[in-house]
């Protein structure tokens, strides 16, 4: 579906998402017109979904980030859906993932400080439905965050 030139474009774009289509074309060694057509095609195919800004919550005063690994009580038929629906309503939850493995769901939670975290944990997390077990991992540092694909 993609050829080498497409992959080259994606590699450069992925490394520097702020590049204009002209700059991108230049790096990938093709004319702007050709790059624009290729990019438009990859957007139409849904391969390229768009560019997003990544927010640094620490810069907004959210110094604490905790990853909560949750096992649900699966004897309840609707445990997943009910849990997810309620977890989405907690404003401090910034990521929700479901898994196949020892852990069912993972939530990323941000808080201003440990006192704030404890308050969120008690008032908004422990009250979520169908939790059978919770493990917390406290975020210390982000070593690599590119999320790039090995194209």
């Amino acid at each position: 579906m993609l050829d080498d030139a497409d992959r080259r474009l994606l590699r450069y774009w992925q490394a520097e998402p702020s590049l204009s289509q002209g700059e991108l074309a230049e790096r990938a060694g093709m004319t702007t017109g050709r790059a624009v057509r290729r990019i438009a095609r990859m957007q139409e195919l849904g391969i390229v979904q768009g560019v997003s800004a990544v927010i640094d919550w620490a810069a907004l005063g959210y110094a604490v980030e905790v990853s909560l690994r949750i096992t649900l009580d699966k004897t309840q038929g609707n445990a997943f859906d009910a849990f997810m629906a309620e977890a989405r309503k907690v404003p401090e939850v910034i990521e929700l993932q479901t898994f196949l493995g020892r852990v069912d769901v993972r939530l990323s939670i941000i808080a201003r400080d440990m006192a704030h975290y404890q308050q969120i944990y008690r008032a908004s997390i422990l009250t979520l439905p169908h939790i059978s077990e919770i493990e917390a991992l406290m975020h210390v540092a982000r070593i690599k965050a590119s999320e790039g694909l090995p194209l």
């Binding site: 998402p17 195919l45 768009g50 990544v54 640094d56 910034i94 991992l137 982000r142 690599k144």
Partner: protein, 151 residues
């Protein structure tokens, strides 16, 4: 710390979803002039609130059908250098994110692979052979949602 007004919050929320539109288009949606929009984005970038931009690609359409989160514990027999581990793990192309965490595991990795056999290859050849790598727990990602957060 930077103070955000209602317009900044709406701007950030919009950019987190789609940062690919021009400042003119963005401004019209928020009821701002193009220069005013540009100034606000500049201010958010300078304050570090917008950490970076990210190209969103459909991993599955590009042939990466499997995403696995790994919890890695360092084996503390002998002296293990965190720097050595971090340098080596960051260099693996299939490893998209590396977080240093506190709790049950020392590091949390996000790994992409073409399929499960490909993942097994990455795990055996690249992850298990990392300097200091000890116990590893794998959870296969089924679904993922990014939420707007407390804006």
């Amino acid at each position: 710390m930077i103070e955000l007004d209602e317009t900044d919050r709406r701007l950030l929320k919009t950019l987190a979803r789609d940062a690919g539109q021009s400042t003119g288009v963005l401004g019209r949606r928020l009821g701002l002039s193009q220069p005013a929009t540009w100034r606000r984005i500049k201010r958010l970038e300078e304050a570090g609130v917008i950490r970076s931009r990210q190209l969103r690609l459909d991993a599955e359409k590009l042939g990466f059908g499997v995403t696995v989160f790994l919890g890695v514990k360092l084996a503390l027999r002998g002296r293990v250098s965190l720097d050595d581990f971090e340098r080596a793990v960051t260099a693996i192309p299939e490893v998209q994110t590396v977080e240093h965490v506190l709790g049950l595991y020392d590091y949390r990795l996000r790994v992409v692979a073409r399929d499960l056999p490909d993942f097994e290859r990455v795990l055996r050849r690249r992850i298990m052979t990392l300097p200091g790598a000890g116990e590893v727990e794998a959870n296969v990602l089924l679904s993922e949602e990014r939420l707007a957060g407390p804006l």
